[in-house]
């Protein structure tokens, strides 16, 4: 091949690579919107606030939630942890001290993964809280 032909081919290749990356970049950005959680099942473990109730966020974040996430394995899409700050309604108490949420594609797969370890998970609660959690299973609409 002549040098100029080689350079033209290289240029075309580089141009295509740039275009390809741009497409990937766009797809990844669209993934960021909340819309892409649509259809996922959420299991939210909510710890109600009340006088005398305690919650060790450091233990929850570094030990408990990673342990449960590990048990869920490939059935887990992602998980989140949030710390309660206040009620959004003036003069009302903060509803929850903390919430941990698992996002899964299938509730059945979640239950199958958790089932054999339910007692171990429950026993670990005493290591970070004296609150009996409320658990909501919901589906992401948007």
């Amino acid at each position: 091949m002549k040098p100029r032909l080689v350079l033209s081919v290289l240029l075309l290749t580089a141009g295509f690579a740039a275009f390809s990356q741009q497409q990937q970049s766009r797809t990844a950005k669209e993934d960021h919107s909340a819309v892409d959680d649509k259809g996922l099942i959420k299991i939210a473990i909510m710890y109600p606030f009340a006088e005398g109730k305690t919650f060790n966020m450091a233990y929850y974040e570094t030990k408990h939630m990673p342990m449960v996430a590990g048990l869920l394995g490939s059935s887990l899409v992602k998980y989140s942890i949030e710390k309660g700050l206040a009620s959004g309604i003036p003069n009302q108490p903060m509803p929850y001290l903390a919430i941990g949420t698992f996002y899964v594609k299938s509730l059945a797969a979640y239950q199958a993964a958790i089932g054999p370890h339910r007692e171990a998970i429950r026993a670990d609660l005493a290591n970070y809280t004296n609150v009996a959690p409320v658990i909501l299973v919901s589906q992401v609409v948007r």
Copy 2:
């Protein structure tokens, strides 16, 4: 410039563009993980389930939440809607019929945007539910 020099410069530029897109792509992909919500403030409007309580999800999804999101404008990072399915604890009632959540960077900016419209937002509630919501302000830890 000689033709070969021009081509070399073009090649270098194309190569840099490809590299640049790759970097953007990587950043966007990292944004997708739950970890990247870290630090955001969540305002979760939670509608408790009880006998006789109703919730029109279609109205909530297509009218109410887009209206509030529009009022929040640039102070809103994203919002989500979820529909309650069940309690995660056997023999307990489902805690919430539905939850709508706004993710913002600043609670003060959220309050400033919502403040002037609080009555209009409250008045719209009767169009989709007879439930008095509970509101949790929290911070994403992970």
